[in-house]
Each structure stands twice: as structure tokens, then as C-alpha cells.
């Protein structure tokens, strides 16, 4: 039996399409950037949980500052690193809303280290999505707290040197030590299977908000192929070989 493409490409045969919680705006991210995938799976979780009218996002300073152009929910754009404080400010007066922050490694682990520590310590009933690509993307590829030893960036042109630059920071493990966090996990989105797992983790995090369980923290180890100066496919390979040994995937805490 010969089946023509036009027979397959019919509305009733759709098994996957863009969620309406994503806007039609073309994302400003570089080709292959992990941000787009993470945006998508957050949007899908919001759609599947039916919480578009109850979700408030807080975007950071960094590449994802403009996240509010892509997810069709109410958003506050926070000062650099302050997203957990802004989310606290919202969540405390809106106990029935799903409040999440979306932050990169510079925003969360460097300038916003104090804010995230204390939001997690207080157990704010929020979700934190932490994108760790070991570099400052927006400002042009400088060293982040999570930059690996030896990794070349614009401000570590000879590779990150522990004596000069200190060590890469595993903030996620630190946050798991705090009593206020209920769920701390590290995921990635470089393969279809990992995308599914990361989405399940984000779903669980939002469900925790529904149950008022405290702070759910989802780190996504991602790529910055522009900052790393690689093709998107090579960046994924580099991430698997270099990032994963330092930043192991999996649940760190789940109570």
C-alpha cells in the first residue's frame, strides 16, 4: 500500500506540535541553544497542568532576560540575580499562584548567590529553573562560577585556573543541604530521552508548588555553542564529555 505524504500530514494525525503557551515570536537565541528547549518544556508543563492563568514567571538578566516574549504567561523581569527575591515577593502574597524563576549560572550562582540561598532556606513555595552552561552568554562568553577548570572563556583566555579564578561551583548540591528545598535535581535536554526526563522533573516541581512543599530546584546542564565556539552538535558532545563528569545528572534530593 502506498501512502502519500499528504495522507499523513493531516490535522487528525498530529502527534506533536508547538504548545499554545509558547508565543509565535521567533526566539532571539542562537541556533541550537538549550534555552529554547527548556522554554518549550516549561510551556508544555503549564499547558498540561492547565495553569496558564495562575503562573507567574520571573526572568533574569542574561540571555533569557527576554523569556517573557516567548511564554504566554504573566512575567516580571528581575534585576541581575534578584529573581528569587522577586519571586518571593510575588509568592508570599499570591499563595495560590505558580511562581517560578528562570535563571542562568551568572545570574543565580554568581551575583544572585545570596538571594537563591535564602529563598531556598526559607523554603519559598516556588520553582527555580537554573540553566547551567558554564559561561556568560549574553555579555560575550566570560567565565561563570560554573566554568570548568581549564575551560577557555573570554575572561579566562588561557583556561580557568583554580589559583587565579577559583573552582567551579556546584551550587545545586549546596542548595540541597538547605531544609527549605523539597526537590533538587539536575537534568539536561540534549537527547529526546533527556528532554522527556527534564520535562518530568519540571512537572514534578510545579506539582510540588501545588502541594505547597517548598522550593523545587531544577538545574538544566545546557550548552552555549556560541560561547563555547562549537557547533550545536559538537557542543552537546563536549557537554557530555566535560560537563557531566563534574555536574552529574539525576535527583539530588526528593522529599
Amino acid at each position: 500500500m502506498s501512502v502519500e505524504l499528504k495522507d499523513i500530514i493531516k490535522e487528525e494525525n498530529i502527534v506533536y506540535k508547538k504548545t499554545p503557551v509558547l508565543t509565535d515570536n521567533v526566539m532571539h537565541y542562537c541556533p541550537g541553544c538549550s534555552h529554547g528547549v527548556v522554554h518549550k518544556i516549561i510551556a508544555e508543563v503549564i499547558e498540561e497542568m492547565g495553569i496558564q492563568d495562575k503562573t507567574i514567571g520571573v526572568s533574569p538578566v542574561g540571555c533569557s532576560v527576554l523569556a517573557y516574549n516567548y511564554l504566554d504567561i504573566d512575567w516580571a523581569e528581575a534585576a541581575h540575580g534578584r529573581a528569587p527575591a522577586v519571586a518571593t515577593g510575588i509568592s508570599r502574597i499570591h499563595r495560590d499562584r505558580y511562581v517560578f524563576t528562570y535563571q542562568g549560572d551568572g545570574d543565580l550562582a554568581s551575583i544572585g548567590c545570596g538571594e537563591i540561598m535564602h529563598a531556598c532556606s526559607r523554603g519559598e513555595n516556588i520553582v527555580v529553573i537554573f540553566i547551567n552552561n558554564a559561561i556568560y552568554g549574553m555579555t560575550g562568553g566570560q567565565m561563570a562560577p560554573t566554568t570548568l577548570l581549564g575551560q577557555v572563556t573570554a575572561t579566562t583566555p588561557y583556561g580557568r585556573d583554580a589559583k587565579l579564578n577559583g573552582f567551579p561551583m556546584k551550587l545545586t548540591e549546596l542548595l540541597a543541604q538547605l531544609d527549605g528545598t523539597c526537590y533538587v535535581t539536575r537534568q539536561s535536554v540534549h537527547t529526546p530521552a533527556n528532554v522527556r526526563k527534564a520535562k518530568a522533573a519540571i512537572r514534578k516541581a510545579f506539582e510540588n508548588t501545588r502541594k505547597d512543599k517548598g522550593t523545587s530546584f531544577v538545574e538544566i546542564v545546557g550548552t552555549c555553542n556560541s560561547g563555547w565556539k562549537m557547533s550545536p552538535v559538537d557542543a552537546n558532545k563536549w557537554m557530555v564529555e566535560n560537563m557531566f563528569p563534574k555536574y552529574q545528572l539525576g535527583d539530588i534530593k526528593d522529599i
Binding site: 496558564q52 492563568d53 495562575k54 503562573t55 507567574i56 520571573v58 526572568s59 532576560v65 527576554l66 517573557y68 504566554d72 504567561i73 504573566d74 512575567w75 516580571a76 523581569e77 528581575a78 534585576a79 534578584r82 527575591a85 522577586v86 519571586a87 518571593t88 515577593g89 510575588i90 509568592s91 508570599r92 502574597i93 499570591h94 499562584r97 545570596g114 538571594e115 540561598m117 535564602h118
Partner: protein, 361 residues
């Protein structure tokens, strides 16, 4: 029947916040204003009106929590003192840039740096000229009594929401720590969710509704021309404030030949100085700016045509004096007398300064 009590200025801020329907206070302890949060925590308004109170880990966090709550169209406030207010400047410029209403109470102490915990007025520039980066202003109210600490909480919120702009009560350690008789405001209920949606549907974060596109609170605009347009909009707003919101008090100005310009605590000391002057036959009045921004420029210009000279009296090295000189257009002598670093001027010193710097000059 209005409730009259003997209360400390800082305590009154807390009481007035609860009574005016404030939704949330986020703060961090610092002398000389820690009684604000202490009073709130003791009062437990969350059981009474539903008002949320939270001690943050820093002033940086406090003001950003305020940003979050204000973004939701809620009545949000914080309080601090000079070093803490310096830390809040980042948040304040973001609030102004995102056009968010909120109330910030600054109970000023002497600086610079950690300075002293004693009262001062040395943060006039910081309060009235923006304080953080970018072209913006806060609405600045300067109370001179515990009663005004009460009254300006409600007024501050009203103005903040009218203009969608942060408002500041610029007090000092004297007003904050002083006990006085105060007539407390009547209770006003907090706004309901429905009221907030009705008032602020076009911008407040309440969760995206089917009838509207999603709301975004941001101060970012990458297009320079759009950013310039936005800045014009802010300037138009400030111009409207200058036209409509100037508040001031004239004390014994009818026959005045000389003028003290002073706000807050300093204006109270000047009242005694006026009495001493008049006993010596020197006709002095006081122009007390109540709004430091917008500044009573026109009123000072008018009085500058009546009097022979103006002495500004501030607990600073001379900050408001610059605005007074501009208002008087340099047509009459405008001089400054100040004590600072936590030192409060005496009425006698002020009289001597008037004689030496203005009358005898």
C-alpha cells in the same frame, strides 16, 4: 471617634501601614528604624487584615521582594535607613523603570559609609535626584512630626499608585525615634483581587487571563528610540507631579523679611529660631517643603521676591540649598547652615547663622 495615642514615629509607620490596607511589608533591620518591622511582627497583621510581613536577608532582597509584590498591583512597602537605602538603589531604579508603585521609608542617619546611628538629613540628594542610575525621580515626602509619619503612609501609597512610581517618606532618626501624640487613621480594607484586576488589569501580574494578552513588568528596552520615548513618558509624569503634587507649609511668612528653608526635624528647630528672632525684632518665616520631590520651586521663587535673604537649615553639609538657590534664581542671598554627622543644630546657632550669613553679610 478617631483614636489618639502616644507613639514613636517608627511604630506609627507600622500602624499606619496596617490601617491603610497595605498588602505587604518586606524589610531588614537597621538602626534607627528597626521598630517598624518589630511593631509589625508583634501586631501580626496577617491575622487581622491579611497583610504579609517578612524579614528578608538583606535590603537588596527586601526591595526586590517589594518589586515582585508591586508588580502584582499590591500595596507593597519597605523601610530602612541610609546604608540600607544605598543598597536598595538598584531595586528603586528598576521599580521606577518598570513604573511600579511602592512605598519606601528612609529614617536617615549620618554618613557617609557606616557613619553614625544618630539623625541626619544628608541623604536629600540620594532621595530627590533619583539615587540610582537613569533619569528618574521618587516622590519624596518629608514628615516633620509623628502625625505626619502616620498621614504620609496613606498619602505615599495614593501618590505612588496615581503616578505608578515609587514614593519615599524621607524621615530622620529624630522623627523615627520621637514619641508624640498621633491621631491614627481609620482602617481601610485591603484591595480585593477583583479590585486590583479592575484598577490595574493592563499591567499587574495576576495570572494571564483569557480576555487579555499577558502582562510583563520590565524596565528593559533594547530599541534606543523606544527607550527615549519611554523616558519622555517618565519626564511627562514628573512634570505632572511638579504641576499637581507640590506640598509645603508656610510658617509666619506674611510679614517675613528673611526666610528659613528647612524640612523635617530641622524645620521644627527653625520654629524656635523664628520665635527667638522675632523677640529680637527680626521678622523671619519658614518655608517647609513637605514634598522634597516635586520641590516647591515656585513658592520659593515667590517668597524670594518678598524677603531679603534665605537661610536653608539642614542636618547636612548643604544639599537642599542647591534647589533653593535655583528656585530663588540667585537674585537674593541664599546661604546654608547645617550640623551633620548626627549632630542637631540648636535654635541659637541658627539665629546666629542668620545674622552672620544673611543679615550681616
Amino acid at each position: 471617634m478617631a483614636e489618639v495615642k502616644l507613639m514613636k514615629g517608627n511604630e506609627v509607620i507600622a500602624e499606619a501601614a496596617i490601617r491603610c490596607g497595605c498588602d505587604v511589608y518586606y524589610g531588614y533591620p537597621i538602626t534607627p528604624q528597626s521598630e517598624v518591622m518589630e511593631t509589625l511582627m508583634a501586631r501580626k497583621p496577617w491575622e487581622e487584615t491579611g497583610m504579609v510581613v517578612l524579614q528578608a536577608e538583606s535590603e537588596i532582597s527586601s526591595i526586590n521582594m517589594v518589586y515582585g509584590a508591586a508588580a502584582c498591583g499590591k500595596k507593597a512597602m519597605t523601610s530602612s535607613s541610609s546604608p540600607g537605602i544605598s543598597l536598595m538603589q538598584e531595586g528603586l531604579t528598576y521599580l521606577a523603570g518598570a513604573e511600579l508603585p511602592c512605598l519606601v521609608v528612609d529614617v536617615v542617619r549620618g554618613g557617609p559609609g557606616l557613619g553614625t546611628i544618630q539623625p541626619a538629613q544628608s541623604d536629600y540628594f540620594q532621595a530627590t535626584k533619583g539615587g540610582g542610575h537613569g533619569d528618574y525621580h521618587l516622590i519624596v515626602l518629608a514628615p516633620a512630626s509623628v502625625q505626619e509619619m502616620n498621614d504620609f503612609v496613606g498619602l505615599g501609597f495614593d501618590l505612588a499608585f496615581k503616578y505608578r512610581n515609587p514614593a519615599m517618606i524621607l524621615a530622620d532618626g529624630v522623627i523615627g525615634q520621637m514619641m508624640e501624640k498621633v491621631q491614627l487613621s481609620e482602617y481601610k480594607p485591603r484591595w480585593t483581587e477583583e479590585e486590583i484586576e479592575k484598577m490595574s488589569d493592563s499591567w499587574a501580574l495576576t495570572g494571564k487571563k483569557a480576555h487579555r494578552s499577558h502582562n510583563t513588568i520590565t524596565s528593559l528596552e533594547l530599541d534606543s528610540y523606544k527607550q527615549e520615548t519611554f523616558n519622555h513618558k517618565l519626564q511627562a509624569k514628573y512634570h505632572a507631579m511638579e504641576e499637581n503634587e507640590v506640598r509645603f507649609e508656610e510658617i509666619q511668612c506674611e510679614d517675613a523679611e528673611y526666610l528659613f528653608a528647612a524640612y523635617g526635624s530641622a524645620s521644627r528647630i527653625c520654629q524656635k529660631a523664628v520665635q527667638l528672632c522675632r523677640e529680637q525684632g527680626i521678622k523671619v518665616g519658614i518655608l517647609r517643603p513637605i514634598t522634597l520631590y516635586p520641590f516647591p520651586t515656585k513658592e520659593i521663587e515667590r517668597l524670594s521676591k518678598q524677603v531679603k535673604g534665605i537661610l536653608t537649615v539642614e542636618m547636612s553639609a548643604g544639599q537642599m540649598v542647591e534647589d533653593v538657590r535655583l528656585a530663588a534664581k540667585f537674585k537674593i542671598p541664599v546661604e546654608h547652615y547645617g550640623r551633620f554627622g548626627g549632630v542637631i543644630p540648636t535654635p541659637e546657632e541658627i539665629v546666629e547663622a542668620l545674622k552672620k550669613q544673611i543679615i550681616g553679610a
